[in-house]
């Protein structure tokens, strides 16, 4: 058994973990970054499309380019890292068990940063009835098989779910000569970014059918067809509208789930809304000295934000490891009308500056985003459009942490306006 001690162990080397490792090191801590894959960069290595780095680098990078920029920063900062090493256990005492090709490693850390990313929702989680043939892939798996493994996953493709990964894969497959028949979305609106809808579907004439879903799957060995039907606002299927679509491949782009199995082992409490850890505004979880950032905390649509979160968390974890502050708990942030979640979920009582990240429950037009601190309105902004697929970030400069903080959406009355 290999034994080792560090100030800070970072689990996962995606944009979140890489950033956290860099900033922890730059804040003077002794850091070890541990990655399961044979390479650094996390999910970005398979996201070969562009659209990364606009915020952090002011450049329009592809996923691999963004990752390489981050890895360069890691190497410049001199952060030691392990690849091909998977953390299989973590406890409250911040002891990690790591499988490496050289042996099993026990790593004892003063602070741990969780940056394990997410996994995709599968057919089982969606509960689609029908047969169970070959040819059903989640969009991210398809992305890996096509972009990294160079494999042709099918010929005639239907995509269920208009999440960004699904939209991006629609274009990828079309470019590689597959027949992308249509994208089917259960919501009355496209759940991915407008940019992706326009550039991935409309550019290539791929139809998007809204308020519809797949209600049956056919084919015993390889997929042969799916049945599509319309749904109402409450997702009740209208059986008079069924349409059978012949296809040999079905991609599912129906959501990502933070990968918190290790976090649970360390006793970290999770938020039902985000499926990530409950954190305070230093991103410390309910388990003292364990921090969380990136997609394992809440799903980010933009890698830059995952990295920014990582930079912040790395610094805080380094401060904690040096004993600069103690676990606090703090006061819960209230989630008001129109808001689906807020991160952080708690505000420490020793801070009056906080950054809140949140998503809305549904698309809104012409509304006000309001933050109240006790009875005072501390933030007020009119927005023309907010949609659930975009994360909102706002900074509050001087709040009173003893008083409640509440985020909500207020619909602007057109007549008064």
């Amino acid at each position: 058994m290999i034994e080792k001690k560090v100030d800070i162990a970072v689990i996962g080397a995606g944009p979140g973990g890489l950033a956290a490792a860099v900033s922890a090191k730059e804040s003077g801590a002794d850091v070890l970054l541990i990655e399961r894959n044979p390479f650094l960069g996390g999910i970005l290595i398979q996201c070969i499309h562009d659209g990364f780095g606009l915020h952090l680098f002011d450049k329009n990078y592809t996923g691999p380019e963004y990752a390489e920029e981050m890895v360069n920063r890691l190497e410049n900062a001199g952060v030691p890292y392990l690849t091909n090493c998977m953390v299989i256990d973590l406890n409250e005492k911040k002891e990690l068990t790591v499988v490496t090709s050289k042996g099993l490693m026990k790593l004892i850390a003063k602070a741990v940063i969780l940056a394990m990313g997410c996994r995709e929702r599968t057919r089982g989680a969606l509960e689609i009835p029908g047969t169970r043939p070959a040819g059903i892939y989640t969009a991210g798996v398809a992305q890996n098989l096509v972009n990294i493994q160079n494999l042709r996953i099918g010929n005639d493709v239907v995509i269920l779910g208009s999440g960004d990964v699904g939209l991006i894969m629609a274009r990828r497959l079309k470019i590689e000569g597959l027949n992308v028949i249509r994208v089917i979305e259960i919501l009355p609106y496209c759940s991915g970014l407008v940019r992706n809808r326009v550039q991935c579907l409309e550019d290539y004439g791929i139809p998007l059918t809204l308020s519809s879903t797949v209600i049956d799957i056919h084919g015993k060995d390889r997929l042969e067809a799916v049945t599509m039907a319309k749904v109402d606002r409450d997702f009740n299927v209208d059986h008079d509208t069924t349409e059978k679509i012949d296809c040999d491949t079905l991609l599912l782009s129906v959501g990502l789930i933070p990968e918190n199995e290790l976090s649970k082992k360390a006793g970290v409490n999770l938020d039902n809304r985000t499926s990530g850890a409950l954190v305070d505004n230093f991103y410390e979880t309910s388990t003292e000295g364990i921090f969380s950032c990136g997609n394992v905390l809440h799903i980010h649509d933009v890698a830059d934000y995952a990295s920014n979160e990582g930079f912040f968390v790395g610094e805080k974890a380094a401060e904690y490891a040096k004993g600069k502050w103690k676990h606090s708990g703090g006061k819960p942030v209230k989630i008001g009308n129109g808001i689906s979640y807020v991160v952080p979920q708690y505000i420490r009582n020793d801070c009056n500056e906080v950054e809140l990240k949140f998503r809305v429950t549904q698309p809104f037009e012409n509304v006000r985003i309001i933050v109240k601190n006790g009875d005072d309105v501390v933030f007020k902004k009119r927005v023309l459009k907010v949609i659930p697929s975009e994360m909102n970030i706002l900074k509050l400069k001087s709040i009173d942490p003893e008083k409640d903080v509440e985020v909500k959406i207020v619909i602007i009355d057109k007549n008064i306006n």
Binding site: I45, Q149, Q199
Partner: protein
């Protein structure tokens, strides 16, 4: 004769749905734009629509089967598949550095096709 088109501006999250009327290479009117960049975008989209092509190239390497590539700047949208056909002919061997030019000035569009990832061995 004047023609009309709906164009969704994707330059910022507002995603204005622009109603544009144009004749020849001239925009006559634009509606629903919330800022001046909308006009700029609409004229690009109408008269010179261009896109970045992103794909992969099969490689010989110890651990990798592909390297990802892109054009250094957008190429005419209507010719995307012609550029793709050029890239499709290419096979590479490691080592490859990010930024290596794989096709120079592809089809004379002024864009190079470059590798977007480093493959050491």
């Amino acid at each position: 004769m004047a023609q009309e088109r709906k164009i969704i501006c994707i330059l910022c999250p507002n995603c204005c749905e622009l109603d544009v009327s144009y004749e020849g290479k001239e925009i006559l009117s634009i509606e629903n734009d919330r800022c001046p960049r909308g006009l700029e975008y609409a004229s690009e989209e109408l008269f010179n629509p261009a896109r970045t092509l992103i794909t992969t190239v099969p490689i010989k390497s110890r651990n990798w089967k592909t390297v990802s590539v892109r054009t250094t700047k957008p190429v005419p949208k209507s010719r995307i598949f012609d550029v793709y056909d050029e890239v499709k002919k290419i096979r590479l061997r490691a080592p490859i550095n990010r930024g290596d030019i794989i096709i120079e000035n592809v089809l004379g569009f002024g864009a190079d096709v470059i590798a977007t990832r480093t493959v050491k061995e």
